[in-house]
Amino acid sequence: MRYLATPARLKVPAAARYAALGTAIAAAVATLAACGSGNAATGTGSNSTGTAAANAKGPVQVALILKDFTNPYFISMENSAKTDAAKLGVKLSVSAGSTDGDTSTQITAIDNAIAAGDAGIIITPNGNAVNPALDQAKAHHLLVIALDTVPTPPSTADLTYATDNFEAGQLIGQYTAKRLAGKPADIAMLDLFNNQVVSVDIDRDHGFLSGMGIPVGNSGLNGAEPKSGTYKGQLGGSGSYKIACQLPTQGAVPGGQTSMEQCLSKDPNINVVYAINEPAAEGAGAALKAAHKAGVIVAAIDGGCADIPYLSSGEMTVTAGQFPGKMAADGVDAIYALAKTGKKPTATPGLGFFNTGTELYTDSPISGVKSATTSAESGLCWQA
């Protein structure tokens, strides 16, 4: 009597399994990348690799390559660049990585820009992996402009347009010192990281301290300043200070909240909070509210439109705004100028980049410290 064949374990050979998964993942990544690059690079189809300057005949072509299409910071760059390009008659193509950190999409976009004979590339790099492609672009006489963060090494870009983070810190430090008007300062420093050293973290923290007239201790690290002493604000206001605590926040709301809670546990009398950015300040504000602490000076940096309500309500006292829109527009201008007149843009004297400026926003202005109110900010924020 025949037995029915029992399905003895059907063993898919290992190679087939890996091939199947590899194909699936490749397909998924390709789909996401394709979605991510959205309005992909120029569609001129021109295969000429003639130098970019030779395109002075037709409209100037510029490629804007962002980190991603989801962070509103970069969207404001995109909008501002588009407006500026329309004004100048520049043909602008915009692309972005599928997420923060996606360098391969950016590299493809750079290659496309070279192939299309663009006059220049404006890029917020997702990582150092794009550097060889940018060097190639420069070799083909494209102007390479970096935005927001100076690349490593700085010479990868012909010029970077960025906020002077140190100056931004200084502005809020100066405001805080004057605002204290001689009262003792009990300070909580809410930084970005405690396990790595990043320039934006150091610059803003040290800027704030120097604006307050507090020595920095070690120019390469956060947290090395003397824990107590006298502050002497650069625009006035001096008194005694102590650094009650210094904790990381990851630049996000939960980190700001937890760190502020821990600081308050340690020292309930904190009256000054420096926060690396606005999400961290939001978290700190929530913790202060829950602890029913009023009258604390909360100083942050960003100037984002989403945080205007926090400024008007007073949960955040003062912020130093950035102008990502101006960075992008200036970048378009620079490439246009090079194509039309052959003049290359130059950095702000004394800095390794072009300073797109920073401005103080607060609804509690102090005489002697220049600032704008939130109603002005809503028009200006990020210059979107």
Binding site: V12, R17, A20, L21, I25, A28, L32, C35, G36, D68, T70, N71, P72, I75, S98, T99, D100, N194, N195, G223, K227, C245, Q246, L247, P248, Q250, G251, A252, V253, P254, G255, Q257, T258, S259, E261, Q262, C263, S265, K266, P279, E282, G283, A286, A291, A306
Partner: protein, 338 residues
């Protein structure tokens, strides 16, 4: 005459302390982390008496609630001998779905929460399917799905945060305060504690729990005993996904804003809590209650070091040392004397 298996004939001398400790830890793996927790609380409160303030302790448990909940799911997966690197990404995705459907699509709060939990379960199902049917190692699967879920979360949310003011009250219900004497907890904290109790019961007192442990301990033995190990694994991944969805709800209540940046480091931190809590990375051993202690230990160290005024980078150092000690302890316990 009855046939009897004779004793081996050795006269066991009174066991030395070391062996007794080893056996006790073998039986109840949660003893180790519980002791470390108690010891660290004592030490930090001696350094700064503020540590024991009702306010500080209340805040401490609120701070740890989200991560501890995530770690429940991670514990289950690690017990089966697997690991999940996509924990944070899955929870973020669930968080954004809950928040956006409620705020932007007008979905009522309860339904939005259910959508989010369903999304969490779906991520768990995908991970589990790839592990059990396509038979790929969990490390590799979840390394891949980590990127996939992160991208989907970013795309879906458009990088926008959703604030509490745009969300129905039900979504931030987990942030409501509950006063117990001088301590102030939140409903989210209580939910976390209830989840630990339920998970502990399921893992130690039901057949499913036994099957989870045996699948992690010796999958071949489990299979030969008639246990459908594939089904057990899939159920673990899906259950973990549901738990990640609940963690997302607790997160919204705690933070008051749904943002894709809310769970930086959660992927590795959840594994840290599980390991410090005494669960073995090789599977089959550990207790989910240990994970609660593990998560609390990390938070106690963070808070204690901040209160001590010591540079916060020492907290990173301390975490690393705790992990190494926990793994070394696990290895020592496994070397059982007969």
């Amino acid at each position: 005459m009855t046939a009897v298996i004779e004793p081996t004939g050795e006269v066991r001398p009174r066991e030395e302390l070391g062996a007794r400790v080893q056996h006790a830890l073998h039986r109840h793996p949660a003893i180790g982390p519980a002791s470390v927790l108690v010891a660290s609380v004592i030490v930090f409160s001696l350094i700064n008496h503020r540590f024991l303030n009702a306010v500080n302790l209340s805040l401490l448990i609120q701070q740890v609630a989200v991560l501890a909940t995530l770690a429940i799911g991670q514990t289950m997966i690690i017990l089966t001998g697997g690991i999940d690197l996509s924990v944070g990404a899955a929870a973020i995705l669930a968080q954004m779905v809950m928040a956006q459907t409620a705020a932007n699509n007008g979905v009522p709060g309860v339904l939005a929460i259910l959508f989010g939990i369903a999304v969490g379960a779906a991520t768990g199902f995908i991970n589990g399917f790839l592990v059990t049917r396509i038979k790929l190692p969990p490390f590799i699967v979840t390394l891949g799905t980590l990127s996939v879920y992160t991208s989907i979360g970013l795309r879906y949310s458009g990088g926008q945060s959703v604030y509490a003011t745009s969300m129905p009250k039900f979504l931030i219900w987990t942030g409501n305060y509950v006063d117990i004497g001088p301590y102030q907890l939140t409903t989210g904290v209580i939910m976390m504690l209830v989840l630990f109790a339920v998970a502990s019961f399921a893992l130690t007192r039901t057949a499913w729990g036994r099957h989870v442990y045996s699948t992690g301990d010796d999958p071949e033995a489990a299979r030969l005993s008639g246990i459908k190990t594939g089904r057990v694994l899939l159920s673990v991944y899906v259950t973990a996904g549901v738990i990640f969805g609940l963690a997302a709800w607790i997160l919204i209540g705690r933070v008051g804003v749904a943002s894709t940046n809310n769970l930086t480091n959660a992927n590795l931190d959840s594994i840290t809590a599980v390991v410090i809590g005494g669960t073995s990375l090789f599977g089959g051993r550990g207790a989910v209650l240990g994970t609660l202690f593990g998560a609390l230990i990390v938070q106690v160290f963070q808070s204690g070091i901040a209160l001590a005024g010591v540079q916060s980078l020492y907290q990173v150092l301390a975490e690393g040392i705790l992990v190494i000690v926990a793994v070394a302890l696990d290895q020592w316990i496994r070397k059982v004397r007969r």
